[in-house]
């Protein structure tokens, strides 16, 4: 592997890992905002409007970061992966064009109205704009997951004399074998990740003041989402895993740490240290036959290992093995949080029993970690290919000199850590202030932003006339 190639991979991994955090949050948050505004229009309870305005400010910051980091992605495919672009462009390019035309324009076109236009267009049209933004974020997920799924499980294509992939059947390209599983898994992940953030912010303010009405409302809504969706996500993830076993067996072998074949029932390796050179997992803790039971629904079913695949086609097991465990571990913890808060609710102590609130606070960022770990699992697990089984990563990169890629990687690293680090700081500062009655839209009277980390100075004097209800 050449230096330029490994640098190009590092750069793509770095920029896309930064980027994915924002769409995940904006897919979930846009839907949450639409729900809040819908509830407000129906019930006219001010708490919903306060929550809407509170989260819209946060949405605005996250969305802007998503736009600019996404713009980078749309050009980086050509700048760093030009051979891939030439070969796969006829298939994946149109899907991305559809993403731009049906999703990005919709989001961006109505975002301005959503952020700044309530007074100008009235409540109903404003709600329509919010819905358009939410639909746009979902449409964006649809198309980009179609692209990624096609690269994982290509279908509906032919190959011409220049080695380009040609679309033969667009329905087969879009609805390729792994697409439905991946889309469901990803959208649920976005909802759960957002619910964890909303829940953590709610918990933070509940722990300080358990009578805070907006904090109670958002904590309760977020925990309902987690209680209901986390178990569904586990089932969806399991179904996705079975689909992967069918179409990308080497990836599942890497996830399971199965270097060796197991002709009569494969063990589930809970933990261990995969040694890629030796082709074994050291120091492993395993449960006999459980892997066969999960993957084949039969404890004695044979499962092939990486020893059935030429070594040059192996994914790098240690990364896939561990990222998968991180994702699953967090997934189970999220389901646990859902169960615990359901229990608290059943006892009528959702707002009074503190341990689940502390747990929710601590779990706030874990959805993002799980999403990143999941993507690492599926992307590193696809290696050494960009288009699975057909186009190798080593044959996909641009003919660039290593210093060019190294310099741009360094520039991205410096800029992203500065810019998005600052963004994170501003987001946390917004979240650290409690939502108050008569919350204004993004901005509001600007001295508000002079506030420090404690909420008190953040409340403009006129708002003190309306103590927390």
């Amino acid at each position: 592997m050449t230096d330029a190639l490994i640098l190009a991979r590092a750069q793509f991994a770095f920029t896309i890992a930064f980027h994915i955090v924002f769409p995940v949050f904006s897919i979930g948050l846009a839907s949450y905002l639409a729900v809040l505004e819908g509830l407000w229009l129906r019930t006219r309870k001010p708490v919903y409007l306060d929550l809407f305005n509170y989260w819209m400010k946060i949405f605005a910051v996250a969305f802007g970061a998503g736009v600019v980091s996404g713009l980078v992605m749309s050009y980086q495919i050509g700048s760093n992966w030009s051979v891939f672009s030439d070969k796969a462009g006829p298939v994946v390019g149109p899907l991305m064009a559809y993403e731009v035309m049906s999703a990005f324009f919709l989001e961006a076109g109505f975002l301005g109205v959503m952020l700044f236009g309530r007074e100008k267009v009235g409540d109903r049209l404003h709600f329509a704009a919010t819905l358009a933004v939410a639909i746009g974020t979902f449409a964006s997920a649809f198309w980009i997951i179609a692209v990624n799924s096609w690269m994982q499980t290509p279908a509906g294509y032919g190959i011409n004399a220049q080695g380009q992939f040609l679309p033969l059947d667009w329905m087969a390209v879009i609805f390729n074998p792994s697409f439905p599983f991946r889309l469901v898994h990803m959208v649920l992940a976005a909802y759960l990740t957002t619910a964890l953030v909303v829940g953590a912010v709610g918990a933070f303010h509940l722990l300080k003041d358990r009578a805070q009405p907006a904090a109670r409302k958002m904590f309760s809504m977020a925990m309902w989402m987690i209680t209901l969706v986390a178990p569904i996500q586990i089932l969806a993830g399991d179904a996705h895993g079975l689909n992967t076993l069918e179409h990308q067996p080497a990836k599942v072998m890497a996830m399971e740490g199965h270097y060796q074949s197991h002709p009569d029932g494969a063990p589930l390796i809970l933990f261990g240290l995969p040694d890629q050179k030796a082709g074994i997992v050291r120091a492993r803790i395993e449960i006999p036959k459980l892997s066969s039971l999960i993957l084949k629904h039969d404890p004695n079913a044979p499962l092939a290992g990486l020893d059935t695949i030429p070594r040059q086609n192996w994914p790098y097991v240690p990364v896939v093995f561990w990222s998968f465990r991180i994702m699953v571990g967090i997934g189970l913890a999220i389901a646990g949080l859902g169960a615990l808060t359901l229990l608290a609710r059943a006892r009528g102590k959702l707002y009074d029993w503190k341990p689940p609130q502390w747990l929710a606070l601590g779990m706030g960022p874990m959805g993002f970690v799980a999403v990143l770990a999941g993507w690492v699992t599926t992307e590193v697990g696809r290696q050494p290919y960009t288009v699975y089984g057909l186009l190798r990563t080593a044959h996909s990169a641009s003919p660039l000199d290593a210093p060019a890629v190294a310099a741009s990687l360094a520039a991205f690293a410096v800029v992203y850590f500065t810019v998005f680090g600052a963004g994170l700081f501003y987001l946390l500062r917004l979240m650290s202030q409690p939502p108050h009655a008569h919350e204004t839209g993004p901005g509001g009277p600007s001295p508000l932003r002079a506030a420090g980390l404690t909420p008190a100075p953040g409340i403009a004097p006129d708002r003190l006339l309306h103590p927390a209800e």
Partner: protein, 333 residues
Amino acid sequence: MPIDLTLIWAAILAFAVFAYVAMDGFDLGVGVLFPFFQRGAQRDTAMNSVAPVWDGNETWLILGGGGLFAAFPLAYAILMPAVYTPLIAMLLGLVFRGVAFEYRWRTERAKWAWDLAFCGGSALAALSQGVILGAILQGVKVAGRGYGGGWWDWLTPFSLLCGVSVLAGYSLLGATWLVLKTEGALQDRAYRLAAWLTGATLLAIFSVSLATPFLGAAYWRRWFEFPRILATAQVPLLVLLTAGALVYGLKRRRETWLFPLALGLFALGYVGLAISLFPYVVPTQVTIWQAAAPPSSQAFMLVGAAILVPIILAYTGYAYWVFRGKVGAEGYH
């Protein structure tokens, strides 16, 4: 004659790129001119004049890149590595100025830093876009189905001239936009800036026009061969007319004239580019037909584009209409 999908896609992409230049040009220009406005109300108003529309404007750039990838993958594969350095610079510039729209309102202490990011990022993006244009116009080395040159090939006096020219032109768009959208002291300042920038932009158009035919014999023939010249000569003549109207509008303070006239200059420059380039997408080496994706790709996308682009234009128009008129002093933030 069968429908030439490739030609249609070339036209759609040309439209997307022009839509980008026309729309993001002025909001980048507002960023470039930011230091000329007073801290506080003037800067807030200037930023608020573009805040509700900038994401939509920038989306045309994504369509330009994504569309090139989809409809002309070979051109995308050759050109993006060829302009690697200015491309990355442009993207980083856009990152800085894009986040500034929100960050700037989230801090008092570091507001100056985001003002700087807004101005510097906008200027870097504008400059880089011009350099990219120049680098493509002057030609790139092609090897097989890829780029065959080094990562500093783009850097020439010509590409830098193009960079400065686009910077001047976008600034003119920004200044005339502010004349249209603001009042009082800010508008006075925008008028003064617009006057200077009209001169700078005309000088830039003149220099680039003079330099381009000397880049290669092909450009020369395209512009000066008889009888082509009868048609091509109309472009510089129209530029002169537009420039005259712009100068007159500046003198008489016709606030609604200036922005459309400045856009007119860009449109004419764009027609000039089309004359220089067509039908090449990588000048003198790869035509649009050679770079084209297969008909099944282009046809599939055309269905979507035929339905969605008019809808996009309609709601983009709606968004502009919602925020029509002068920007209020109170601002949206």
